[in-house]
Amino acid sequence: MQPFKSLDAVACPLPLSNVDTDQLIPARFMKRSRADGYGSFLLHDLRFDETGAEMSNSPLNDPERQGARILVTRRNFGCGSSREAAVYALVDYGIACVIAPSFGDIFASNAVNNGLLPAIVSEENCEALLNVLRDGALTATVDLEALTIWSANLILSFTVDPVWRTKLLNGWDDIDLTQSYTSVIANFAKADRERRPWMQPSERPDSQ
């Protein structure tokens, strides 16, 4: 995974609350292979009408916001299903940071596992940032080391779980870390079997 230190990019306002994962990527696209990229499905039904034509009032279709890598939105972003495809759609579209007052728990951990920063700002700061973008600011700078966001004349701080911050700054993947504990895990499993013999499923797995 690529480390995330700071990002200076076009920022797109999405002034909606509760943008759920069914909006981020409608279920009907989830049969596709990731190899082709999920970027074109991002917020599909808010971007395209029934005929597939772009809707001009959709923020991501604003010609000035093309190439956006930062999304600024309202509370409870990414609520709903655990589909990591919602994060794939954002990442494949080019988004590397979403700024909001709160995130769905599963979405946020999926985001970090894909190098996407879920930056938490206060409701008040979120509205201030949405306002400067509405008033014409095009870009924002997100500094993960300093936990700071700049846009136009606005400077504000954000939070992210310290564990996630370290992971993002270093581009770490959990699997590599976990595999350094292989023998500790094996010892735990052995001791646990003595302590909780009832845990093991009582039927043997079928050979299907």
Partner: protein
């Protein structure tokens, strides 16, 4: 670490602590995972294994279940959309390659993962259970830590049987008193979400407690825990008690004989200590809860059926007023209109929320001897629920009312298998999400209990089921 003698400990902490393999200074814990359920969506995770030429660490603790994409009107894969068939075939291929036990379409125990796990006794108290599905908290009804995970985490569990987690905060939702006739666990769950909001439990593990919860059946508890994520909670739990133990005895995968008794002793000791501390406490009075319906596009947009649709002009908070305006616009309903004046086009009874035998019985009790004014689908949660309902004659009641009785799967809750609500249509549904387009592009969803959906089917509009209540349908011998 596992410290059996600590005091003031919550149910969540007792189960969590028993699974900590490593605790880092920053609070990250490497947790042992006891059960991992997979469905067709697991292909992303298996692709990650392939990239690393990795194997499944513990196939004996991993179970594949065909539910998200399965057809409900045929079991013949030759007759369905090849893209959908491909999803099922990928799960079959991956399960076979890695020696994972699979509940496939040809299995007499197939069904929705959150129905099958408990039914088979794979779900037990005191376990950690994960699945790439946000409704995994359902299994918390047994006093397990059960939670939805994304594809990267699915791959991590497949490869290591562990996950890194930081302890969430703890929230207790206490409900006391008796639910009035016709009021179900679904009404209790929707009322709670309306009270705390869809983000109300973000960052928290919920424990449901109180006399009302203790008197719920396992089916009711499963419905309640299922909807935890709709309040933002990744975890929802209920302390194991005699109801839990009796449900599990003799289930196929549950421990047997002495191992079961030893388990039962352990499980009953998991309840939160009397003086356990929670970060948040919410209390509800069961007697005040009425049958509830949603009118908007998030589950918090819920009101008692006796109420009117809210008027954004009367809402002081401008952000909330804007949301309600947007919701009513999408739903095409008027501010201030009676909820019971909302006409519907079809109904759906099913999903991991409400497809268990009690749910089918509750719907049949309203439908018996009546005709539905709108079409609808009834999809029992598993082949075992289907068989039991048929043994009780409930399928006949449902068919005679004019509704379709089909096979189990996630079906019209999410529409992945092609069971869709057509654009612009309004569906009364026992499912869990009324998000924009959830049941199909342009669809409009009203969430409610199975009995409320049955009542809406009979009248063609949202209806207080209490007006149609009768004696329960007698079981047919």
């Amino acid at each position: 670490m596992y410290t059996p003698n600590r005091k003031h400990v919550t149910l969540f902490d007792k189960v969590f602590d028993a699974h900590v393999i490593v605790e880092r200074e920053d609070g990250q814990c490497l947790l042992w995972i006891d059960r991992h359920f997979l469905h067709e969506g697991s292909f992303h995770a298996f692709n990650k294994l392939k990239e690393r030429s990795a194997e499944v660490a513990r196939p004996d603790l991993t179970f594949g279940i065909e539910d998200h994409y399965v057809p409900t009107r045929t079991r013949d894969l030759g007759r369905i959309d090849p893209a959908i068939r491909g999803m099922i075939e990928q799960l079959r291929g991956n399960s076979q390659r890695h020696g994972v036990r699979r509940f496939g379409l040809d299995d007499p125990a197939q069904g929705i993962v959150h129905v099958v796990g408990p039914e088979q006794g794979l779900t037990l108290p005191g376990l950690t259970i994960v699945c790439g599905d946000s409704h995994t908290a359902t299994h918390g009804a047994f006093g397990a830590i059960a939670f939805g995970i994304g594809a990267s985490e699915v791959a991590h569990v497949l490869m290591t049987q562990t996950l890194w987690q930081k302890k969430p905060k703890r929230m207790r939702i206490s409900v006391d008193g008796e639910l009035t006739p016709g009021v179900s666990a679904k009404d209790l769950a929707l009322s709670t979400i309306a009270r705390i909001g869809t983000g109300g439990a973000v960052g928290h593990a919920i424990e449901y407690a109180g006399s009302t919860i203790r008197s719920l059946s396992m089916e009711g508890r499963l419905t309640l825990c299922n909807l935890s994520i709709e309040a933002g909670g990744r975890f929802g739990m209920i302390a194991p008690d005699e109801t839990t133990i009796e449900y599990l005895r003799n289930r196929p995968f549950a421990p047997k004989g002495e191992a079961f008794e030893r388990g039962a002793q352990y499980w009953l000791a998991l309840a939160s200590d009397a003086d356990a501390m929670f970060d948040h406490e919410i209390t509800l009075n069961a007697a005040e809860i009425a049958p509830v319906v949603t009118w908007g596009i998030t589950p918090e947009d819920a009101s008692p059926i006796t109420a009117r649709v809210p008027d954004p002009a009367q809402i002081p908070d401008p952000a909330r007023a804007a949301q309600v305006r947007d919701a009513l616009d999408y739903m095409d309903i008027k501010p201030g209109q009676s909820l019971t004046d909302i006409r519907i086009d079809r109904v759906f009874i099913g999903s991991c929320t409400n497809s268990r035998i009690e749910d089918i019985r509750a719907a049949a009790a309203i439908l018996v001897g009546r005709k539905a004014k709108v079409p609808g689908l009834v999809s029992p949660g598993s082949m075992l629920v289907k068989k039991q309902a048929e043994d009780e004659g409930l399928d006949r009641i449902i068919r005679e009312a004019g509704l379709e009785w089909v096979d189990p799967g996630c079906s019209m809750c999410v529409g992945m298998n092609g069971d869709l609500v057509p654009p612009g249509e309004r569906c009364a549904s026992t499912t869990n999400r009324n998000f924009r387009g959830r049941q199909g592009p342009g669809s409009r969803t009203h969430l409610m209990s199975p009995a409320m959906v049955a009542a809406a089917a009979i009248t063609g509009h949202l209806t207080d089921m209490r007006l149609l209540m009768r004696e329960p349908v007698p079981a047919r011998d």
